[in-house]
Symmetry: C2
């Protein structure tokens, strides 16, 4: 007699409970191949349920293959011996990964709560929710929302000197995603140039696609042209306005040389990663390399992660027409990766002038934060500072140290005090002595009190050992 506890369980229909019990008995070996199930009528009366309920449960088991029926003989358990027994997986006692928990993380590029325009952004999102209906749920255009692309084109004209049709702009949920797609329209069997030092994610990204890449040295004006000619890659990734982490600005002459290099062969392209362009404090930024791109060799990339928030997943790239035509062919079947709600909100945010107002506001805040950090560093007596970088751009300071400690030793000692730091050497694909002993301090999400305490902790690392 098969009697099951068929009531008061999870609000599931009774037939589903019966089905689960029998299925479980089969999977755990209580019922084995060839066992005969009670007739529908007996199962019903044993459990005080209707025959229809049993029929529903048996049918589900039949359909899924757990039991078989033979006319006039009844229902029999199938042979599921090929299947090992299932055991439940519990939550891990030791988590597979844990969140970092730093007192201050100079390696992060996050933003400060007070530096985000919460009120205006939420207002705009709410306005989009009230204004749009169908647009919010229909599959978005594979290359991005029309209104946002148009606002970005205008923004690029006003602020980066780029004149571009919105049709050449592609929106994506992050630079990584856009890179994935971009690689598919660049010449296959390309060699990619990685600036040394340079933005860490780029070689990692290239590795993740098994791409062929080589390091190119940097000099005071940006990527070294002689090294570029010697190593001879055909795709170059640069940030002419403000190199990360060196902070190098590429002057017009080097830009001309780089563009001329790009025009020199059909398979050459230049990726201009302009992620830090908005944060020049003394003067206005130079128009983008893309604005001088007469040979159609520059792919312009930018993101709103840094100017707005990394939680709002919108980045974009501007493709030369030839690559865009290839992109249309190869990528039309992909759905756009960016949220339609956020795309529409951002379009409105730019259109109403809120975005540029916000940029002006955080430029002042970042400049102030940078100057404060500089002050704190200069008045600290414990850190053996040789030199500090200027704070005319960006949201990080380079601190050259006079120390016997290796970069890893400083990092470890500092970490024990709850402070995370990176070094220039972390960003080198080919390590050179001149890039050692140089801290990179990102300050975009550290307020003054945190800066003070963190720098004091950093200083104590040197007093104890020397």
């Amino acid at each position: 007699m098969y009697r099951y506890k068929l009531v008061g369980q999870n609000d599931k229909p009774v037939y589903e409970l019966l089905y689960e019990y029998i299925r479980n008995d089969i999977l755990t070996g209580k019922l084995v191949s060839g066992d005969r199930l009670p007739s529908k009528r007996n199962m019903a009366s044993d459990n005080g349920i209707s025959v229809t309920t049993v029929v529903n449960a048996y049918n589900q088991l039949l359909m899924e293959g757990y039991i078989k029926s033979f006319e006039k003989k009844g229902y029999f358990v199938s042979d599921i011996s090929a299947l090992p027994k299932v055991k439940k997986k519990n939550l891990y006692e030791n988590p597979l990964y844990v969140e970092d928990n730093w007192f201050a993380d100079f390696g992060s590029n996050n933003i400060l709560f007070k530096n985000f325009p919460h009120f205006t952004w939420k207002k705009v999102v709410r306005e989009v929710l009230s204004t749009y209906e169908t647009e919010l749920i229909m599959r978005g255009h594979p290359f991005g929302n029309e209104e946002l692309k148009s606002e970005i084109a205008d923004y690029l004209y006003r602020n980066r000197g780029i004149t571009v049709s919105p049709e050449l702009i592609v929106i994506g949920a992050g630079i990584e995603f856009l890179y994935n797609r971009l690689i598919n329209v660049l010449p296959s069997s390309s060699t990619y140039a990685v600036e040394n030092p340079g933005y860490k994610k780029i070689p990692k990204l290239y590795n993740s696609f098994s791409l062929n890449w080589k390091s190119i040295d940097m000099d005071d004006e940006g990527i070294n042209m002689r090294d570029l000619e010697t190593v001879n890659p055909n795709i170059v990734h640069v940030s002419p306005e403000h190199h990360y982490p060196l902070g190098t600005f590429m002057p017009l002459k080097r830009r001309q040389e780089l563009l001329a290099w790009g025009c020199g062969a059909a398979n050459r392209y230049i990726i201009e990663d302009d992620f830090d362009c908005e944060f020049r404090y003394g003067s206005k930024p130079m128009p983008a390399l893309k604005s001088l791109d007469v040979c159609e060799k520059v792919i312009y990339m930018n993101t709103f992660s840094k100017t707005l928030s990394p939680a709002i997943r919108i980045s974009y790239m501007v493709l030369p027409e030839k690559l865009m035509r290839k992109y249309i062919e190869s990528t039309y079947f992909f759905t756009n990766s960016a949220s339609t709600l956020e795309q529409l909100a951002l379009a409105l945010f730019i259109k109403k002038g809120y975005f540029e107002r916000h940029i002006r506001r955080i430029k002042k805040l970042y400049r102030q934060e940078g100057e404060t950090l500089r002050e704190i560093l200069l008045t600290n007596k414990d850190i053996p500072i040789i030199s500090l970088s200027e704070t005319q751009n960006g949201t990080h300071i380079l601190v050259k140290l006079r120390t016997e400690l290796s970069d890893d030793e400083v990092r470890e000692k500092t970490a024990k005090k709850g402070v995370q730091v990176n070094f220039l050497s972390d960003f080198c694909t080919k390590l050179e002595a001149k890039y050692e002993h140089t801290l990179i301090l990102n300050f975009s999400d550290l307020d003054e009190d945190t800066q003070k305490e963190a720098i004091s902790r950093l200083g104590s690392v040197f007093t104890v050992t020397t």
Copy 2:
């Protein structure tokens, strides 16, 4: 004398206008290498502006390299001859790409306005906007929002029989993105099996990563095991609950065989694409293949594109622990691609029971839409129907046709009447005769009136030619 129109322009500061005029004169060749600019004092008095304004403009030009200064001699235009002249790019007269504009698109998988829970979804988004502050702007966890992963784990337990720790779940802005990342943790030099016929995007995706893939035949129970053994790939992509486009359901026996195959070699993995699991109408869906995954060989993937909306960019995958450990190593440096706002909204939407209520509601609607389309097809006298597929699952019907016309001929004639149709042959990587002359009619975004008119237009294609 250099006199420029320096007022009433775009609200830009005057120094910026002056800078732009001079820069433009240099770029367009009005000023050439070696030309001497007026002294600061003369430029100021010529234009009725202050000397400071001129200094600012000259400094900007100096910094960017457009001019040089020689002490006691003044300012001179640099040599920019290496740079070809810039011409402005206007908007394209003929657009590079155009939106399709169909009366009815049976190829689309969009959703009907009336089938989306606008009110509840917007309510939840507004609640998230009011509840959260910092979370909405901080960089999200690389693997996805904690609350959403936890809700998904519970949902999978309730509805798909999967017991999984949220730590093994990865969120992404779409299946394409997750696939990108997944490929990086699967054994390199893998051979991927593509079901023939099967979901079109999969081989396209594999091509875009230059992966090695091979077609495997389908039979009535899913992927053909004999063909799988013969062709011998090591990664298989299947949809056991409801294959697209054939609609095949994989019974337990075949599942056991497939799992046993997966357990048979270290480099074998099975990708279970469960995108259509929610839409079985007669009975409840069978627990996922993943629920029987004792060898840790199944990667489970699903998306909210179909159950909620393709404009909400959230998909997820469940990795076996071994792959998750590899994933943590290789992908920790990537930012999550999904919007934090939408992740939090979806978590709340599931938590409050709205999601499962919505699924129950659209199941009824889709079942009704499917039955209506079946009726319309059966009463249409013009379409030479041999057979129709059942409407027990999913949101498409297969229509086997008796016609001399090739699939492409029918498609072209139908397109002229504003109706887009796909054929089973479009989904074949290896064409077989049995898959010809079979229409695929997706109906998830077509209301009854549109269905009627579209089917009538489809019918007229056959009356004119026969």
